[in-house]
Symmetry: C2
Subunit: 469 residues, 2 copies
Amino acid sequence: MKRYEQFADDIAQLIRSGMLGPGQRIPSVRYASQTYGVSPSTVFQAYYLLERRGLIRARPRSGYFVNHHGPSPFYEPVISSPVHESTEVDVSELVFSVLDSIKDPATVPFGSAFPSPLLFPLQRLSRSLSSATRDMDPRVVVTDMSPGNPQLRRQIALRYMVGGLMLPMEQLLVTNGALEALNLCLQAVTEPGDLVAIEAPAFYASLQVLERLKLKAVEIPVHPRDGIDLEVLEQTLARHPIKACWCMTSFQNPMGATMPEARKQALVELLRRHEVPLIEDDVYAELYYGQQAPKPAKAFDTEGLVMHCGSFAKSLAPGYRIGWVAAGRYAQKIERLKLMTSLCASMPAQAAIADYLQHGGYDRHLRKLRYALEEQQSAMLAAIARYFPAQTRVSQPAGGYFLWLELPEQIDSLKLFQMALAQGISIAPGPIFSATRRFNNCIRLNYGGPWTDVSEKAMETLGRIIKSF
Amino acid sequence: MKRYEQFADDIAQLIRSGMLGPGQRIPSVRYASQTYGVSPSTVFQAYYLLERRGLIRARPRSGYFVNHHGPSPFYEPVISSPVHESTEVDVSELVFSVLDSIKDPATVPFGSAFPSPLLFPLQRLSRSLSSATRDMDPRVVVTDMSPGNPQLRRQIALRYMVGGLMLPMEQLLVTNGALEALNLCLQAVTEPGDLVAIEAPAFYASLQVLERLKLKAVEIPVHPRDGIDLEVLEQTLARHPIKACWCMTSFQNPMGATMPEARKQALVELLRRHEVPLIEDDVYAELYYGQQAPKPAKAFDTEGLVMHCGSFAKSLAPGYRIGWVAAGRYAQKIERLKLMTSLCASMPAQAAIADYLQHGGYDRHLRKLRYALEEQQSAMLAAIARYFPAQTRVSQPAGGYFLWLELPEQIDSLKLFQMALAQGISIAPGPIFSATRRFNNCIRLNYGGPWTDVSEKAMETLGRIIKSF
């Protein structure tokens, strides 16, 4: 064994034992060389080896950091048991009371669905707004109404292409955020009263959309790493006349699961056999911490059955309300539904984002954003380890900005929500993520804001309240 | 009789006889004084008298013009007969084929639903976009999400106030254009299968919304000047379980009718007695040619039963997709539906319009816009007189940018649509404005673009095709 290999193994041991936690910085080359009495070039070679092994990662101008697929100090949340029944959805009152609580800027926004707007290049976007609209041909207001700004659609198609997906431009529709896209997709393939397979837990907005469209939910359990349970889904498809399957295949909200590629492929194949369309909600696609973006299920879609919904709201331009759908065989139907619903997405916002994608340095911004989110995740995980009961189970997603916590059984998360709010801290209680109001001892925490003393203090307070149960 | 009174009568006679048409300029003071041998001060006094009588109107720096409520050379369109049945709505295919035809910029857009974008201060708005977003507090992205940008809502409330309406701010919701507002209003008060009273003819988008929400239409005739027929509406309310009434109370699309204030009040009173909510589509409110904006029905609403929907799309910022609703007692329900549908309207667009309303000179722009539309109307009416069959009946709206034409009975407007399109001219055929596909010998023409030789030539061609039937 070479000297540098030995040294690399020592560091790897520190990582495996948890002494060096995920996201933590490992000693600088200078410091390591002095402390361990090895030459700087040996340290370099060792770090390079660890990087190739995927244990650490270099960040430009900041040194090396421990990667996230090391062992977690926490157990994963348990996968929920299947329900096998369809449910009328009625969660809105609960969700709205949670949402209302987040509006006060003085509240610590752990319950929020959004990353902190401080992480986005809003001033640079303002310049794009100005330059993209200054000399805009007025006639585009009519000609580009539908399916959307052609420059923007070309940029989106290019990003798909870089990820290995060739999508026909005419299937790409710009929408008022992904939420509108998801609404339209669901409307395109269902009638009131129909059954839709969704995840449990699921993002509450999807439950609200089902509620609004008077659809029934059939909940499919989600594994914290593998995503939606394909076996249960298969049984459900055999048993019920499911009209659509809606799921988040990467960095699932709230569980954090990212389906491995093989499972995504199996999902598409399974749905294809039953001729059931997949509504793929992929709004966190750009927020991966690994070396590469995970492929969407859409990549395995040969029949046009997958409607892939994306957005710039979480990765670039919150408040601009620009999303899209690559709608496969449903493109024309969805385009028409959109013309009847809201006509088109705001043109200046579309033009600005198209301009930014071309000239603004999107990939540079994304790298910074991903680093920030990963570091914030480490900080929150560390705080959970410090302040929360030892039995707490925590997801450890490889992207996004949510942790899903399973607390000891006696914890009533709705009560916890009220008690925390009284202390100026918002959380998202488990039952809002389920049509059947399960997950009562679970909460979702948002680490999408810069980590500060206030965050740390709030975690300590939360831990104290939880322990008081 | 004084000299100036005599002279005023002479001019009035010219107007009544049609020698001086609506929108036409009357002789300048200098010219009149020389030609008729009267002193300039006599001319001034005469014109002042005619202005007080409402026959002519001064335009700053352009002289005096004939007002529109002079006698028209055309007969009005005939009011349609009532149907007394509810109808499933299924017009979309027809509408989409018409809409598709307008996309080609080479087509003369008489069939368009939009005014020409050349009439709007898009460059000035671009400056507002830039200055309003440059130093925007990033946190507003979360805090202002719903019910919308507070500066914008304050500006809208101010404009209501100037018109004599005091509206509580919390009932004002910003939407993705008026179309979304109308969708949400209808959803807030109906379930699939419900009956909705609408106008006949009605704007086809409202028929499409009914179709999308699986509602049934009960068509109420529209008088070309008085608007929706209150007697028929009253019978309908007595006979059918109507869940909502949707109508355009001013410059109705496509008929052009503006209900007199007393009728608006009677409408609100009638609906109040039946506890039926009114969805008031008032997107052309700012496009009046008279001295004053017509009051909306909302002005007579004491019970919060009227949902008044407005937009900047037709008066200021097409493509920005900013509308609103003053939603009365339904405000909270609509706000929540909106959160489930599209979250919020594009923030930069909201901020830009708020900035423009404060600093951009909206009223100056509106004056220019109204003059332009009124002149374009005169030009189109003149062309109809020149090229169309003498039996043609034409509406003469006091605002907006549409004429409704009733052609001789043998004219099939769907055939006419195809034939005109083959000549590069789009029109809107009558049947798309009715759930029961009536109005087959009617067409809607758009005069929302600057009048050019191309427009004149297109009218001549249209007239020739019509006469060929």
